[in-house]
């Protein structure tokens, strides 16, 4: 099999990342600067440089580990890795792609349950009011995550400082927001 034939047949996660977000994992030479600068690397199961190394193997077992990893959800998109990467590999964009793929294939790590619940509550808030309604977000997140007592002391302190509204501020053209959500729903 020639090299070009091999290229056409690639069905690995690395190939999909390359096609969808123009990020070439193969460019990584494992200097480790991304993992060294990553603020959440120590909480990850695989630090960013290891995710890249696993992608490079193009083995289905490794692809599976990545999509099921906690790491992709812990990434906070601080962009430090991209800034320091000598090969300018856009790891944050890659992480966005991996998160969406992980979810669409039902592979999201159970440990990331609360992180995902928060994002979902956030988008649901925007969908209904066009702008973030913080109180609504907190209530919906508590419902989704079942962390009913988390931050119970925070809300009264926010209210006394005028930092928490009781009513959402709706946009005039909510139909437009609804349409945008509809047009981008997969």
């Amino acid at each position: 099999m020639s090299h070009s034939d091999h290229h056409i047949e690639r069905n690995s996660l690395a190939a999909k990342v390359e096609k969808e977000v123009e990020v070439k994992a193969q460019k990584c030479y494992q200097c480790g600067k991304c993992s060294a600068g990553c603020p959440v690397a120590e909480d990850m199961d695989f630090p960013p440089s290891m995710v890249l190394r696993m992608l490079q193997t193009e083995l289905p077992a490794n692809d599976e580990k990545i999509l099921k990893s906690h790491s992709i959800w812990l990434c906070v998109t601080c962009e430090m890795c991209l800034t320091r990467c000598p090969m300018e590999i856009d790891i944050p964009s890659m992480m966005d792609y991996l998160r969406q793929k992980s979810r669409s294939e039902g592979k999201a790590n159970p440990k990331a349950k609360n992180i995902i619940a928060f994002h979902k509550s956030f988008l649901s808030s925007i969908k209904h009011t066009g702008r973030l309604f913080e109180l609504g977000l907190i209530i919906d997140y508590k419902r989704q995550s079942l962390n009913l007592f988390q931050d119970a002391g925070l809300a009264p302190k926010m209210i006394s400082r005028g930092k928490l509204h009781f009513m959402p501020e709706k946009l005039k053209d909510m139909a437009h927001i609804a349409k945008i959500f509809k047009n981008t729903s997969k």
């Binding site: 998109t77 998160r99 925007i126 509204h165 945008i180």
Partner: protein, 281 residues
């Protein structure tokens, strides 16, 4: 030239103090920023984590609205919104097909003609030239200017300031009499959007920033992002518990510090709304 403002959601809620200081400062300098009519949320972290198209469409609607109303320059005080808007503009410029697709999604024309500026750029351009004559009460404190992530990164897209050791905020603070100290955590992440879902990580990361600023003798940490502010200020009880310390350094928005220097009261710039008491003023 028409200058608009995109406050973003947090400035209407948990970062009301920031909003008050931006508008109070603008007023003190006879500037009247006009809100982009009927603006929506930029989608923030949630959108780009879960849905790429949505993460571009929401900011695109804001930019298209600005164009429609003839806004040449948009001030975006929230560093996170600023990043989403600039990244969207960049992506749509780079990928014409994607731009067409997003225009279909939002059913609006979008050209990418409005300039997007962050709060430091706005201060540089509109406040600094008239600042000297207006300073009534020099801000004679040692400050740690904390830029966080999204004001400076991704640097190739934002094209703003030095990425590892930015200086713009330090320079602005020096103009009101402050001494900006050398500070190792200038651009380290505070934990950002994990504030509610992983408060432990935010407490750890934000605590490191605060510890370094206090250790180096700063009287205050200066910020230009509502997310950084809420993590460093509102999350202080969690941070102190996590580190078993009593950190009490205040966290002040750059616009609040300038406001105080030009004679605005602590209440006018929203200082009374902070969680960590601000004893300097």
């Amino acid at each position: 030239m028409k200058i608009g403002i995109y406050p973003g959601c947090s400035l209407e809620g948990s970062a009301r103090d920031y909003n008050e200081s931006v508008f109070a400062l603008a007023k003190a300098f006879d500037i009247e920023p006009v809100q982009i009519p009927d603006w929506n949320c930029c989608g923030a972290t949630a959108a780009h984590n879960l849905n790429k198209e949505l993460s571009l469409a929401l900011p695109a609607r804001i930019l298209a609205l600005a164009e429609k109303h003839g806004v040449d320059e948009i001030l975006v005080p929230c560093a996170a919104c600023y990043s989403r808007l600039v990244v969207t503009k960049h992506e749509l410029q780079k990928h014409p097909e994607l731009k067409n697709r997003i225009c279909e999604v939002i059913e609006m024309d979008y050209k990418g003609t409005s300039k997007i500026i962050n709060v430091i750029e706005w201060i540089d351009k509109y406040i600094i030239p008239k600042l000297e004559e207006k300073v009534k009460k020099p801000f004679n404190y040692k400050v740690a200017c904390y830029y966080g992530c999204l004001l400076v990164r991704p640097n190739k897209v934002l094209n703003y300031d030095r990425v590892e050791d930015p200086q713009t905020m330090d320079v602005v603070m020096s103009k009101i009499g402050a001494t900006a100290i050398d500070f190792a955590f200038k651009t380290e992440c505070c934990g950002a959007g994990l504030s509610i879902s992983r408060t432990d990580i935010v407490s750890k990361l934000s605590g490191k920033i605060i510890e370094d600023a206090e250790h180096r003798g700063a009287d205050a940490i200066i910020v230009a992002c509502p997310m950084c502010h809420s993590n460093l200020d509102m999350r202080r009880p969690d941070i102190n518990k996590y580190w078993n310390k009593e950190f009490n350094i205040p966290v002040i928005f750059v616009t609040q510090a300038i406001g105080l220097a030009v004679g605005l009261t602590p209440a006018q710039v929203g200082l009374k709304r902070h969680f960590v008491e601000v004893k300097i003023s």
